[in-house]
Subunit: 250 residues, 2 copies
């Protein structure tokens, strides 16, 4: 029975799982759960993931959600996945867990909080919240500076000084790509001071070609649609497009 | 060389790591990093954990932070740790990762956000924030309801229907114990509707006796000190006591 992968490409952890499957030649069936249509809150999807988020997988009778858990499961259960993605060595593996846990409370939280409160709140029917945006931006800037100064130290091109990417590179890089929804000046202001982060994103794109770029086309498509809609004013279609997409991905 | 464990008992993930070591007879040296004295931002501690949080460990030349990563490392690297803490079975292990990842964005975030904004903000020099508190309380209540209805379903006493506790039980139960800083009525209002959660906490305490209760004495001591200080009004000592303790634990 083929692995089923439930995703919406607009969600950054969904993209991480899809890219991982493709780069590792894992045979899977992609099942779209369109957040813009609130398909994630349908009774059918509740049977797949009672938390109603994407991504989720069903492998035979085994169901799993949370993208980091999924990536680890795929790396562990599917033969042919190269060791560098999730090394068997207990020390290397521990460091990857450390990055992934850190990511939850810092980069992910800063990114999601900043994008919502600085830019996209109106399209989900809420006012912009400059104070919350400022706090989230601090957390985001802090997170980027820690990636630059700590997680990317060492001789390798990738996180933890590795010469090849791990699931941590994949997860964090997909998160940073979500910043593309910001305007160019703001994006440059955030990433500009972090040359190693910029180079690492480029190296990750290259290492994961063509799947990384292909998966991120969805973000750019979303961005273009959203900008067009914004220029016409907030409307129902926009709200429908954006509301669940930005709140229902882990 | 003995394992060094850097902790402050006021931090819930610190307690989880200490309890884990004790229940599994792991030989370790406890190194206190007093958050109330800002020892976590000292140059010496930066060498241990550049993120300046507790807990952290040093095992020979190997350094690690983030409590979930530490618990997994200890369960994997130290002989004699029973399989139920972090099962070798790929499916059971995946489910434990799923709980732990979920915990980051839900129970932990709800608990920390609610305690800070409803109760302790004044002692760190910030006003209470009723709106942020209400949002965090919703997340906390939602998280408790999901533990009740989903993570605790099944025939066993513990999370994921298990008959014996895992590192997920330990981490989540320590987090819930942090709610003891709330007043009794509020605590009852939060936990009252969740009978299975209450029973699970009792079962976890019993399974981890006497270490679970011993480790939580620190919370009650903190609570008593804080309540006495609050009744005298906010002062520098209170701020010194509380500020880092509630912000620097992961």
């Amino acid at each position: 029975m083929t692995l089923k992968v439930y995703i919406d490409p607009i969600s950054e952890p969904s993209r991480a799982v899809i890219i991982f499957c493709k780069i590792n030649d894992i045979d899977f069936e992609e099942v779209r759960v369109e957040l813009s249509k609130r398909e994630n809150v349908s009774p059918e999807y509740k049977e797949i993931n009672p938390m109603r988020q994407v991504p989720a997988i069903v492998d035979g009778r085994f169901k799993l959600f949370e993208s980091h858990a999924i990536l680890i499961y795929l790396a562990s259960a599917f033969p042919g996945v190269s060791n560098h993605w999730y090394p068997a060595d207990v020390f290397k593996r521990a460091k990857i867990h450390s990055v992934l846990d850190w990511h939850h409370s810092f980069l992910r939280r800063g990114t999601a909080g900043y994008i919502m409160n600085s830019t996209l709140a109106p399209v989900v029917g809420r006012p912009l919240n400059p104070q919350a945006a400022a706090e989230a931006r601090k957390l985001l800037s802090y997170s980027l500076s820690k990636i630059e100064s700590f997680w990317l130290k060492g001789s390798g091109k990738f996180l933890l000084g590795s010469n090849q990417p791990s699931i941590a590179d994949l997860s964090l890089a997909c998160q940073i790509m979500q910043l593309e929804v910001l305007d160019e000046k703001d994006l440059n202001g955030l990433l500009g001071p972090h040359k190693k982060v910029q180079q690492w994103i480029e190296d990750t794109k290259y290492a994961l070609r063509p799947h990384f770029d292909e998966a991120h086309k969805a973000v750019f498509t979303f961005l273009e649609r959203w900008k067009k809609q914004s220029s016409r004013g907030v409307n129902n279609e926009t709200e429908s497009l954006s509301k669940p997409a930005l709140r229902a991905n882990m």
